[in-house]
Amino acid sequence: MIRVVLPFHLRTLARVDGEVELEVNGPVTQRSVLDALEARYPMLCGTIRDHVTQQRRAFVRFFACEEDLSHESPDAPLPEAVASGVDPFLVIGAIAGG
């Protein structure tokens, strides 16, 4: 089971509390995790990545295992700790300070 942590506004939009747990078939990558996330919560389509280009929105970042994965290939395997459900995949609204 893949664990995903969403930022506050996307949790509100998806009407979820806390982490989201997803089944991902095949390789665990940014793309497969986001595909599974959007399939379960279609209201999130377009909020994390562009509808057409599927590129990450400019002010959204991806982190896991204390690493910034935002600029990794969407098809690169995510860390084993994410694939095994030990660590969550973090979707972050990019904000530096208040």
């Binding site: 930022p7 506050f8 506004h9 996307l10 509100t12 939009l13 959007e38 399939a39 379960r40 919560y41 279609p42 209201m43 389509c45 377009g46 909020t47 994390i48 509808h51 057409v52 929105r57 002010f59 959204v60 609204g93 990019a94």
Partner: protein, 395 residues
């Protein structure tokens, strides 16, 4: 007794203000979508319980929300959980927040660039929905004016959106440019006497009219003047802030231009100035009395650089003569140390016998007058900055 609903969009959520026909005591419901910018919220004239809202965020983009119970509950009218979000070919299915510019050659070969702030050509990029205009006939049909400027239509209650590409395909697109707020299509007026005719306005391109249901468009900017556009016959490039009409006389239009208030008596074919004795030539909203087509309201603001009322006095100006002669309406409005702004979509009227008029400010106040502007009182004083105000009059 009739009731009134005031739909308020703010920088941090939506609010619904309700009162009876006396409009003295108000219930305040909200915030809905707390923390999100609500650029606009409007109800269907056919089914007043059907509301549409434009919810957006610089981080997470555009969301369309719909209510079927007058704002008690909301839903995104898109794909239901569990249904596939992609087509068999892998392309994304239409979701309610998906606004994709039409680039097909079959529908008018839409332009792909406009003029940017620095004068260079810049590709069209969708940013947000500024204005939602429900159809006068069908609660499931709604138009959306977006930034970068284009017009979209949904015929399935906001589930999917298609661009009316003939507008951008008019041919003048490379001369359109963003105003200070972005290149937005902010005004959509539907002609109640002619379902094929509608008017739109873009900052900064100008006003346009279609007479064939949105397939083809023509600019209607004759008579507009801008000090930065030396050509007196320029077809586009004007920073129109807002258009308004009275439903009983749809061929007469009023315009708050970047500079000056104008009037057209021929559906926009030509315009003439009616600023008259207004204290400034700048402002954003303009509205027409529900029952008196020659009674017009504006909120003069001091210059395009300052964006606050002259002399620290918040004054609505009313003309009962269709322009040129204006009177200041001040009773109940702050007349000292007031430096708020009133944005273009933040003024509206009700249709009760004694016409009510409402506006919201950048300071979070929503003011109401139940007597056509003679007396004002705040409904609320401390909302987030108000972006839009719409009114529903219910029997």
């Amino acid at each position: 007794m009739s009731t009134v609903r005031v739909l308020v969009g703010t920088r941090k959520g939506a609010f619904i203000l309700r009162s009876d026909g006396k409009r003295e005591r108000w219930d305040v419901d909200g915030p809905h979508f707390g923390g999100w910018e609500i650029y606009h919220m409007k109800g269907s004239p056919v089914d007043p319980n059907r509301l549409y809202a434009s919810q957006s965020s610089g981080w997470f983009g555009q969301i369309i929300q719909r209510s079927n119970d007058a704002g008690k509950t909301w839903e995104q009218p898109g794909t239901k959980p569990g249904e596939p979000t992609t087509n068999p070919d892998g392309s994304p299915m239409g979701e309610s927040n998906k606004f994709v510019y039409d680039t097909s050659s079959a529908t008018g070969k839409p332009l792909t660039t406009h003029q940017f702030y620095d004068g260079t050509q810049h590709p069209w990029e969708f940013k947000r929905v500024w204005h939602l205009e429900p159809s006068l006939k069908d609660p499931d049909t709604v138009y959306a004016g977006v930034e970068d400027a284009a017009l979209f239509r949904s015929s399935d209650g906001g589930q999917t959106w298609q661009e009316l590409a003939g507008l951008r395909g008019h041919g003048s697109g490379p001369q359109w440019q963003p105003g200070a707020g972005g290149m937005c299509l902010h005004t959509i007026l539907l002609d109640p006497s002619n379902p094929e005719r509608m008017f739109i306005a873009i900052s900064a391109a100008g006003a346009f009219r279609t007479d064939d249901g949105g397939n083809t468009w023509r600019p209607i900017n004759k008579g507009l003047q801008s000090q930065y556009i030396p050509d007196p016959n320029a077809e586009v490039g004007f920073c129109v802030h807002r258009l308004a009409m009275n439903r009983s006389r749809p061929n007469v239009l009023f315009m708050q231009l970047h500079w000056h208030v104008l009037r057209s008596d021929n559906s926009g074919d030509s315009w003439h100035k009616v600023s008259g004795n207004l204290p400034t030539d700048f402002g954003f909203p303009i509205e027409v009395h529900a029952h008196e087509p020659n009674t017009v309201y504006v909120v003069p603001i001091k210059s395009d650089s300052l964006h606050y009322p002259p002399d620290g006095k918040l004054r609505v100006y009313r003309s009962r003569t269709g322009g040129d002669e204006w009177e200041a309406l001040t009773n109940g409005l702050p007349q000292r140390d007031c430096y708020v702004n009133v944005l273009r979509d933040a003024m509206a009227v009700d249709t009760l016998d004694s016409c009510g008029i409402y506006f919201g400010t950048s300071g979070g106040q929503v003011y109401a007058s139940a007597d056509a502007g003679d007396h004002w009182a705040p409904i609320v004083r401390d909302l987030p900055p108000v972006v839009s105000v719409e009114v529903q009059t219910l029997p």
